[in-house]
């Protein structure tokens, strides 16, 4: 099959080429110099010691944890509630999945303005009186800086440097950057409909006999969900988690359009790092090395899942 061969070249040969670029000191498209640096892993060393990339790792971790929690829990609850509706079922289902059909660039541009300190949500705080109540209690009006906030909550640097050998190599403050919270919200808004669609498909595949049996046993709604529905949703839940984690590790468009790298890289992500290293700073080996980290992270999540699928389909 020629198309198989093409896909293999575009995936595996291309990845091998990129790895080779990371092992060069100064590869450029115009001057393809494959001379290795000394030591050969020098690009990776530079990358790990860069404060920007450390921020990216931190941001990816925070983003992934919160994004998965919010979108999976919201998706599950919405799926349960939507599946219980009769006439309004299709309306709610279509409404909640709608954002997923729209480009991340479009939603990024719009959310950028909704979370702009001078407009959007802050105007709602003002109109609704929440801001003045807040001012009454805390002395200043409620007007968060959202993505332009420079603060980072918490600091586990000393703890991390204890655990990871190599002394004081952390350049970035390891905590929760406040600026990333609106971005997490926007991503969850856009993708919880996908999680809901997956759980809805899972719920509708529960055999009807099980529901009837539960009815005959006079099981309560809560017991039904705890003992029958949730356990049978686990395979679908795993699939959803794997797909959403891979989306989160690769997130690029939404953040590029919504906040960019942010103040002190507070909303920077590896995807943006790779793009800007290659096409803005023209440091191809460094960008390529960061992309290999992205690939490894995605593979850790996706490969076990794909291998299980491979085994499953051979039976």
């Amino acid at each position: 099959m020629p198309s198989f061969i093409l896909v293999f070249i575009f995936v595996y040969v291309f990845i091998a080429y990129t790895i080779r670029v990371t092992l060069s000191a100064n590869w450029k498209p115009a001057k393809q110099d494959f001379t290795m640096p000394h030591p050969w892993y020098n690009t990776y060393k530079t990358l790990i010691n860069s404060g920007r990339f450390q921020s990216d790792v931190r941001n990816t971790f925070i983003f992934t944890v919160f994004f998965l929690l919010i979108s999976v829990i919201a998706g599950l609850l919405l799926a349960i509630a939507v599946s219980n509706m009769n006439r309004s079922k299709v309306f709610f289902r279509n409404l909640f999945i709608m954002p997923y059909a729209v480009s991340f660039i479009v939603t990024g541009v719009v959310w950028r303005w909704i979370f702009n300190p001078i407009s959007g949500v802050n105007l709602l705080f003002k109109y609704s009186g929440i801001s003045s109540i807040y001012q009454h209690v805390f002395g200043s009006p409620l007007s968060p800086q959202w993505m332009t906030s420079a603060s980072t909550v918490g600091n586990v640097n000393s703890l991390l440097e204890h655990i990871i050998p190599g002394g004081t190599f952390l350049q970035a403050q390891m905590g929760i950057p406040v600026a990333i919270l609106p971005v997490i919200f926007a991503a969850s808004w856009q993708l919880c409909g996908f999680a809901m669609a997956m759980f809805l498909a899972g719920l509708s595949s529960i055999p009807h006999e099980l529901r009837e049996a539960a009815a005959i046993d006079r099981a309560s709604g809560f017991r039904y969900y705890r003992s029958i529905a949730l356990p049978s949703l686990i395979p679908m839940g795993v699939t959803t988690l794997v797909i959403l984690t891979s989306v989160s590790l690769k997130i690029f468009d939404l953040i590029y359009a919504m906040s960019g790298s942010g103040i002190a890289f507070s909303t920077d992500m590896p995807g943006i790092f790779v793009y800007e290293s290659m096409y803005k700073a023209l440091n191809y080996p460094l960008g390529a090395a960061a992309s290999i980290f992205m690939l490894i992270a995605v593979c850790i999540v996706v490969l076990p899942y794909l291998l299980r699928f491979n085994k499953g389909s051979e039976e």
């Binding site: 896909v7 575009f10 595996y12 990129t18 059909a101 719009v110 009815a215 899942y305």
Partner: protein, 281 residues
């Protein structure tokens, strides 16, 4: 009758009403960005100020949409020229692959398929350097056909998966009957399988249309010249321009979102099928 039993188990009447109210509370959260885009698109430049972004237009006008269309129409055309061939070709190849993978088991066919599925998950940042080099080598760098090629190749894993799952439900006896009648693989595929695959093409086609239309990374990397880029890239450029009016930017968002939103509104059922069909189960 069965739905009555379902309603007894799933939730009582009262708890259903509570769930309905809770769902209604989510409506504003999901509608807000759409409301902002639509209301701002119909404001005049003078009336479009971010300090009054929540208000409906005081004076309805299509000025923003006209200006946004002037700025984006050629990129919109680029997107159309890119997405239509890319969807058709990647769906056709995907259906052929899916057919072979589901009906002709050969040694390592599952391993081969799994290796191909990896291509669906990789971060595309990892392949940008050799991809650009390859496109330059075949003289398609910076062109729409180059972008189509990239979308086709990286679309093959997902379309093959969708069609493979689709063809599992087609009886093997049908394929065997055709081969007894002397039809070869290609003849069986074009005469028997393709006509049966219309629903599969609708689902995979809509799914791929949305994916490719919404792409941004491939668009900006394979085409450096802004005039030849797809509409998502142009919208991002517009958004980065300091002087652009707020109503024009929102109308631009509307234009960039409209094709996929319309497809979703009218063919949402197939799109949702695609969402779950495209997951490895």
């Amino acid at each position: 009758m069965s739905s009555q039993i379902g309603s007894v188990v799933g939730s009582s009447k009262r708890s259903k009403r509570v769930q309905f109210v809770l769902l209604c509370l989510f409506i504003p959260v999901f509608i807000i960005p759409f409301y902002i885009v639509l209301s701002a698109s119909f404001k005049t430049s003078a009336g479009a100020d971010v300090s009054t972004m929540w208000r409906l237009p005081s004076q309805w006008s299509t000025e923003g949409i006209t200006k946004a269309w002037q700025a984006l129409h050629s990129n919109f055309t680029n997107s159309v020229l890119m997405v239509v061939p890319a969807v058709v070709i990647s769906s056709l190849i995907g259906s052929l692959n899916g057919f072979i993978l589901s009906k002709y088991k050969f040694r390592f066919s599952n391993t081969l398929f799994t290796l191909m599925l990896v291509g669906m998950f990789i971060p595309y940042q990892t392949i940008l350097i050799p991809m650009v080099k390859f496109l330059q080598y075949i003289h398609l760098y910076g062109t729409i056909p180059g972008l189509i090629l990239v979308h086709v190749v990286y679309g093959i894993p997902i379309t093959s998966l969708m069609f493979r799952n689709f063809y599992v439900s087609i009886p093997k006896a049908l394929v065997e009957a055709a081969s007894i009648d002397g039809a070869g693989l290609m003849k069986t595929f074009f005469r028997i399988i393709i006509p049966l695959s219309i629903p599969g093409f609708v689902v995979a086609g809509i799914f791929q249309f949305t994916n490719i239309w919404n792409d941004f990374l491939f668009g900006i990397v394979t085409i450096p010249n802004p005039a030849n880029q797809p509409v998502t890239a142009a919208l991002n450029n517009l958004s980065g321009t300091q002087t652009v009016d707020w109503n024009v930017l929102m109308a631009g968002s509307l234009i960039a979102a409209l094709p996929t939103a319309l497809i979703y509104l009218f063919l949402g059922r197939y799109y949702i099928q695609g969402l779950t069909a495209g997951s490895v189960k």
